[in-house]
């Protein structure tokens, strides 16, 4: 398969391969943030009054909040929130009825990223919502999904077409005042995906959103809301890339998941934002709030993430286990190389009886990077027989990188069982030599060893994504043993 080899070669060349800039004409909001900016965004999106009010309320609250710079194990210069563009959209019509109407440059951008927006050309059954800078440009397979009553569309459309659902659930899991970045996002969010799976429906294909930042100095603030009604099932994928630029760019997303009785949501992310160059210049600041609530009994939410990109990552996909017998899972691989910094983990809030959570976190640090796991397991008073199992492993690839673990455990019910295991290991010269002695060079050996180390997490990913993630791990760790 020569084509496959080409792809692999490209991956192995080690450079960030999504760093190109596309020449797409765009329309931006004036730089900086004020109530006017928010009105501008809301107007651009033809939003109803209630949505604008919601945003303004969030903004006013945000003005009273402070950037969280003390508790995360991260260092970066203060962000000047007035030097950011909060809205940028491809100039052409934002929503297309057929592919012929789409700016060819934009189509090429997504082709280059390996995302085909042409339904005919897509072999695998994945429906895609493509978001570039601030707007969703195309959502595929909508008709097919709507036959089953599944709503899968851009967030802007949902606000207009399904206001009741949006009003009911927006901010119900991550309230606008939840934290600094969630408040910021609530004020200025531009687009994202909305998905509703009706009662008893198993979504027949993977749904996915692909995020791309293209414009310079533009923040990306997308908002995703996923609702699985009683007995519904959905598996959702999220991917992202950005051009290589010398200055840092801000990405502050909010993802809310709601699982009703007997529903299951599986949410997978392969995060590949531009990490900055080898000297630590440039890259994305990724400050994301992701949270799901298991609202009904026997519901389940499972987060799987492979984090390889971004200069700074601040992200804790969490589960509120409200329904009795509900289950929360968090599987994570976080790789940092060169001067990347990641402070990531999860929160499992046990409220219902017989709730269960599993946390498997694999941190890999190389170069001069810093990689922290931060996790909270909270067992509330009424959570009889709650169970948590946490496994938290760190793998060090050099002597100059750091791995840190900050597990917080709060138990308010005596029947709870909370288990925590943690290991730290250095990639073994013995292992490398063993591989070498079998004819495998260091690069390949590292890929093998790291993939083996992450296997429990990679196994959770849908097939196509798992392959992608494996290649990504190889590229991210290129030349990292020292």
């Amino acid at each position: 398969m020569p084509e496959e080899n080409e792809i692999l070669d490209e991956h192995l060349s080690g450079e960030y391969k999504y760093g190109f800039v596309s020449n797409i004409e765009s329309e931006k909001a004036p730089i900086g943030l004020s109530e006017d900016t928010i009105r501008f965004i809301s107007q651009k999106k033809n939003e109803p009054e209630w949505m604008l009010e919601w945003r303004l309320k969030a903004f006013r609250h945000w003005l009273t909040m402070k950037e969280p710079t003390h508790w995360p194990h991260l260092t970066y210069p203060n962000i000047d929130f007035q030097q950011i563009y909060y809205y940028a959209a491809p100039k052409q019509k934002p929503q297309y009825n057929s592919l012929d109407e789409v700016d060819p440059e934009l189509l090429r951008t997504f082709e280059k990223l390996g995302i085909s927006l042409d339904e005919q050309k897509r072999l695998s059954g994945i429906a895609v919502d493509a978001v570039i800078d601030s707007v969703s440009v195309k959502t595929t397979f909508r008709e097919k999904l709507s036959e089953m009553g599944i709503i899968f569309c851009s967030f802007s459309e949902a606000v207009r077409e399904y206001p009741d659902l949006v009003k009911q659930y927006l901010g119900s899991v991550v309230p606008p005042a939840d934290n600094f970045y969630a408040a910021l996002n609530s004020a200025v969010f531009s687009d994202g995906s909305f998905c509703y799976i009706p009662k008893g429906v198993r979504c027949p294909m993977e749904l996915s959103t692909y995020f791309r930042i293209n414009e310079a100095n533009t923040g990306q603030f997308e908002r995703t809301l996923l609702i699985a009604d009683e007995g519904a099932y959905v598996s959702y994928l999220e991917g992202c890339t950005a051009p290589m630029r010398d200055e840092n760019q801000l990405h502050a997303a909010v993802v809310e998941l709601v699982a009703l009785k007997d529903a299951e949501i599986k949410y997978s992310t392969v995060q590949n934002w531009y990490p900055g160059n080898k000297e630590g210049k440039g890259g994305i600041y990724n400050f994301v709030t992701k949270r799901g609530i298991c609202l009904g009994d026997y519901s389940k939410i499972s987060w799987t993430q492979v984090e390889t990109g971004s200069a700074v990552t601040w992200k804790y996909p969490s589960c509120i286990l409200k329904g009795n017998y509900s289950i929360g899972e968090f599987y994570s691989v976080a790789v940092t190389n060169n001067y990347q910094q990641a402070d990531t983990g999860t929160k499992m809030i046990h409220i219902g009886k017989n709730t269960k959570s599993t946390i498997v976190s694999k941190g890999i640090s190389a170069g001069f990077s810093n990689n922290s796991y931060r996790g909270l397991v909270a067992i509330q008073k009424g959570a009889e027989n709650a169970r948590n199992y946490t496994q938290c492993d760190s793998l060090l690839m050099s002597d100059k990188c750091g791995a840190h673990t900050f597990p917080y455990i709060e138990v308010k019910n005596k029947t709870a069982k909370v288990e925590h295991e943690a290991t730290t290991s250095k990639i073994g010269e013995d292992q490398l030599f063993y591989c070498n002695q079998r004819g495998i060079n260091n690069e390949k050996a590292i890929a093998l060893i790291v993939n083996g180390y992450c296997k429990e997490v990679l196994n959770q990913l849908p097939m196509e994504f798992a392959v992608e993630a494996q290649k990504l791990l190889e590229v991210s760790l290129e030349g990292s043993v020292g």
Binding site: Y434, N441, Y453
Partner: protein, 249 residues
């Protein structure tokens, strides 16, 4: 096949190999015996190119190439195989996946195409029978949770799969029960051929009853102090090393 001339090597500034001379022709089996700490594993590490072992003098030719100039992986690809005294565990990587990667790396080096999935599976089946390796072990993570004996058997399975020109077995017999010893020895015997050579490092004459060597060498204090045929092994078994130590002072 292999010619070692006056090889000296040190670890952490300490000289361990103090002038080794050894010539191995294609198809020969050489046993190396010697007291603990005499440098047997060091010799195999140096030949395999392990980091941290500094060659201070001497030359090694392997199949007309200067072995010491090659990277460890290229030495392996050229056909040098080391069955480790202490095999390494690689969690999460299946034995099969590991071997397939290794085999294809070697094939690519030789300008061959990657092996097809079908041929590979057939090869696994054939070679695992050779050492009577439980098929479950082939699918488990490399050496992870293997018993001592299973690890050793897995080394010989890998040897059979990778088809090297020269195989160094560093105390493969230690940790094997009597039946396993016979099975592994039989496997090795089946792998003997006119163009494959072996260096067998062992403390026990018993192994040499099964794998009959062409030559036996005694390594002591970083040097080969005595060479002979299989009778030398019998003599060592009987008398121990003291007489040799006495002879060499």
């Amino acid at each position: 096949m292999l010619e070692i001339r006056n090889l000296k090597a040190s670890v952490e500034e300490k000289e361990i190999l103090k002038g080794i001379n050894l010539k191995i022709n294609a198809g020969e089996v050489h046993a190396i015996m010697g007291p603990n700490g005499s440098g047997k594993s060091t010799l195999s590490s140096v030949l395999a190119g392990r980091d941290g072992y500094e060659v201070t003098e001497g030359e090694v030719d392997f199949l007309q190439k200067n072995l010491l100039e090659l990277s460890p992986e290229d030495r392996a690809r050229e056909g040098l195989f080391l069955a480790f005294q202490y095999p390494i565990e690689i969690p999460g990587v299946s034995n099969i996946n590991f071997l397939k990667t290794a085999l294809n790396e070697i094939r690519t080096y030789k300008g061959l195409e990657a092996i097809s999935a079908k041929d590979f599976l057939a090869l696994v089946k054939e070679k695992s029978q050779l050492v009577e390796l439980d098929s479950k072990l082939a699918n488990r993570s490399v050496n992870e949770g293997f018993s001592g004996g299973e690890k050793k058997r897995n080394e010989i399975f890998q040897l059979a799969m990778l088809n090297p020109k020269l195989a160094i077995l560093d105390e493969t017999d230690s940790g094997l029960d009597i039946d396993a010893l016979r099975i592994v020895a039989n496997g090795v015997n089946k792998l003997r051929s006119k163009d494959r050579s072996f260096i067998i490092i062992t403390h026990y004459q018993r192994l040499l009853d099964y794998i009959v060597p062409d030559f036996v060498h005694v390594l002591y204090n970083g040097k080969i102090v005595k060479s002979g045929t299989k009778e030398l092994a019998l003599e060592l078994e009987e008398k121990g090393y003291d007489w040799i130590k006495a002879e060499t002072v």
